[in-house]
Amino acid sequence: MAGDTTFHHGAPKTDAQPIVQMRDIEKHFGNIIALAGVSFDVLAGECHCLLGDNGAGKSTFIKTMSGVHKPTKGEIFLNGKPMDFSSPRDAMEAGIATVFQDLAMIPLMSVTRNFFMGREPTKGKWLFKRMDIDKANAATMEAMREMGIKLRSPDQAVGTLSGGERQTVAIARAVYFGAKVLILDEPTSALGVRQTSNVLATIDRVRKQGVGVVFITHNVRHAMAVGDRFTVLNRGKTLGTARRGDITGNELQDLMAGGQEMAALEGSLGGTV
C-alpha cells in the first residue's frame, strides 16, 4: 500500500464550522455492507473531493447525505444540529442540492419539465396559480447555454437527449436553484471538453460564493484542479482526508486505485489516465 505513508491525514479542526458533518456512517443493503463507517464534512466555500475506486461506496455515501438512503448507523449534522432527513425533499429544503450519478431525470418528460421538476415557477394567484411555462423554457435554454449546450428546443424529451446533454441538464438544474451545499456525483463523466471546463468553472464560481461543494470524480486532474480537500474511500471505508498541497496528483491517483499497485500497462499507454 504505497499510499499509506505519503497520505497525510488532513487536519479538519480549523476556524470554520462545517455545514454538513457526517459521523461514522454505515449503510447495509440486506447482507451487503456498502459503507462500513465513514466520516466526512464540508465547509462553506470549499470544494471537497470524494474519490475512490468503482464500488467504493461514494454514491451510496452522498445518497445518505442527500436524504435518499437512511444510514444504517451514524449521525448527520447540519450546521451543528443533528439531522434526520426522511426524503430528498427534506434535504433539498435544508439547502442540499445534488446531481446524482443516475441523474434523476424522467426520460419521457421534456427538458424544461425535468429542469423544474419539484420546484416549478408559477404565476397567477389562487386557483389560477399555474406553471410559468415561458419563463421556465427561457430559463432552461439559458442555463443550458451557459453550460455550453445549445438545445434545439426545450420541449424535447430528455430520453432523446444525448448522454452529455442529459448530464448537463442535471448539473444546470442543481446549480440554478442555488444551495448551501452542492453535491456532484461524477458530473463530468459524459461531458465533452467544452462542457467539462464549464462545469469546473462553475464549481469554482459557486465555491467562491460560499457554497460547499462535494465533488466526486475519477479524473485526478479534475480533482486537483478544483479540490480544496480530498477524501478517498476504499471498499466502504475512508482512507483519510488530505488538504490541497499536501498531496500530489500521482499519490492521489495511487490511492484512488484502491491503494493497490496500478495495473501494469504497455509502454504506450503509461501515464495517460
Binding site: 424522467i106 425535468n114 419539484g118 406553471m131 439559458e142 445549445k150 438544474r173
Partner: protein, 368 residues
C-alpha cells in the same frame, strides 16, 4: 423567449407542419379514433344515431364512463392503478342513498359527507400502497372485492333484505342541489329552440331532447380542468414525474407520496361523482352498480394513449377514449348487425380505432 425562436432556426431541425405539431400531442391522437368511428357509423348506422337525441344518447354513458376514465388516466399517469373504482361507484351510491333516503339528509349535507367517506377510502388505498410498497394493482383489487361486498351487505341492512335501495328521486325532488347532479341543463333554451323548430320535437311540441344531460357538462368540465392541471400546473408536472420514475422524481424533490395519495383520493371522488349522478338519475341504487367500470375506465384511458407503465398520457386522450368506447357500445345497436356479433364488432372496432389513431400518428410524426 429569444432562445426559443433561435432554437427553431437550428439547422438540425426540419420544418414541421402545423398538423404534425398538433398530432404529436397525445391529447389529439385519440381524436383520430373518434373520427374513424364516426365515419364508420355514418355509413353503417341508422341516421338517428347522429341526430341531436342520438348524440345525447351515446354521450350520456360516455360521460359517466369518461369521468371515471379521466380519474383513472391521471392515476395511471401517476404510475398507479385503481381497480376499486367500479365497486366504489356501488359503495358511494349506497352511502349516498342511505344518507338521503334512510336518514333523510338534504343534499347539501349528504353530498359532501359521501365525498368525505370516499376520499377517506381513497386515501386508505393510497396509504396502504405507499406504506407497504405492494403494487397498487393488488391492493385496490382487494378493495374491489371488499367494497363490492360491503355494498351488498349495506344495501341489505338499509333496505331490510333487498339489493335495491329505492326512493332517492322522491327524497331529493325538491332539493335545490338536485339540478346540479341530475336531469338536463339548458332546458329553457332547448324548449325555445324546439318552438323555433330548430331542433326535433315530438308531436306534442316538446323537444325530443329536453336539454343537455348534466353529466355531459361535468364530463367536459372535468376534462378541461384535468388537462389544465396536468399541463399547466406544478402538480401536473409532479404527476408525470411520479409516474415516469418514482425514484428520480423523489430524488428531485417531488412529494411523490402526497401526489399519489391525492390521486387515489381523486379517483375515489370521481367514482363518487358518478355514483351520485347515476343514483339521482335512476332514483335507486343496487349492488351491481359500476360493475366492471374500473376495467372500462382503464380501457378508455389506454385507448386515449395512456401508458400502463405510467408517466405518459393525457386527460383529453381519456376524454376521447371514453367517447370512442361509448360510441361503439351504443352505436352498434343502431346498426343492422346481428346482435350476437356485438362483442366481435366491439372488439374489432376498438382495435381498428386504436390502430387508425396509431397509424395516423406515425405517418404524421414520421416515426420509423
Amino acid at each position: 423567449m429569444a432562445d426559443v425562436s433561435e432554437a427553431v432556426q437550428d439547422e438540425r431541425l426540419k420544418q414541421e407542419g402545423f398538423a404534425t405539431k398538433l398530432m404529436k400531442r397525445p391529447e389529439l391522437g385519440a381524436l383520430a379514433g373518434v373520427v374513424a368511428v364516426t365515419i364508420f357509423f355514418l355509413f353503417t348506422a341508422s341516421d338517428t344515431m347522429f341526430t341531436l337525441s342520438g348524440v345525447m344518447n351515446f354521450m350520456t354513458p360516455a360521460a359517466q364512463l369518461g369521468i371515471l376514465a379521466i380519474g383513472a388516466a391521471m392515476l395511471m399517469i401517476g404510475g398507479e392503478f385503481d381497480l376499486s373504482i367500479g365497486s366504489m361507484v356501488a359503495f358511494s351510491g349506497l352511502i349516498f342513498g342511505a344518507f338521503v333516503v334512510t336518514f333523510g339528509m338534504p343534499l347539501v349535507i349528504a353530498i359532501p359527507a359521501t365525498f368525505a367517506i370516499a376520499a377517506a377510502l381513497g386515501a386508505l388505498n393510497g396509504t396502504i400502497v405507499l406504506k407497504t410498497g405492494l403494487p397498487s394493482f393488488i391492493v385496490t383489487l382487494a378493495f374491489l372485492f371488499i367494497l363490492r361486498g360491503a355494498s351488498l351487505v349495506g344495501l341489505k341492512i338499509a333496505t331490510g333484505g333487498s339489493t335495491q335501495l329505492r326512493g332517492v328521486r322522491d327524497a331529493v325532488e325538491n332539493d335545490f342541489l338536485t339540478p346540479v347532479f341530475s336531469g338536463d341543463a339548458f332546458t329553457g333554451l332547448f324548449a325555445w329552440l324546439a318552438k323555433q323548430e330548430m331542433i326535433d320535437r315530438f308531436s306534442s311540441g316538446m323537444p325530443k331532447v329536453p336539454g343537455i344531460p348534466v353529466e355531459i357538462l361535468w364530463f367536459v368540465a372535468f376534462a378541461l380542468i384535468a388537462t389544465y392541471v396536468l399541463l399547466r400546473t406544478p402538480q401536473g408536472n409532479w404527476i408525470f414525474a411520479s409516474g415516469g420514475d418514482e425514484n428520480a422524481a423523489s430524488n428531485s424533490g417531488v412529494p411523490v407520496r402526497r401526489v399519489k395519495i391525492s390521486l387515489f383520493v381523486l379517483t375515489a371522488c370521481c367514482a363518487t361523482l358518478v355514483a351520485i349522478i347515476t343514483v339521482i338519475d335512476a332514483g335507486s341504487t343496487d349492488a351491481r352498480r359500476g360493475f366492471m367500470k374500473e376495467f372500462e375506465a382503464i380501457i378508455a384511458a389506454v385507448i386515449g394513449g395512456c401508458l400502463l407503465t405510467g408517466g405518459y398520457g393525457s386527460a383529453i386522450g381519456a376524454f376521447f377514449g371514453a367517447i370512442i368506447f361509448g360510441m361503439v357500445t351504443i352505436g352498434l345497436t343502431y346498426t343492422t348487425i346481428d346482435q350476437d356479433w356485438f362483442q366481435v364488432f366491439l372488439g374489432a372496432m376498438l382495435l381498428a380505432a386504436v390502430l387508425f389513431n396509431n397509424f395516423i400518428r406515425k405517418r404524421v410524426t414520421g416515426e420509423r
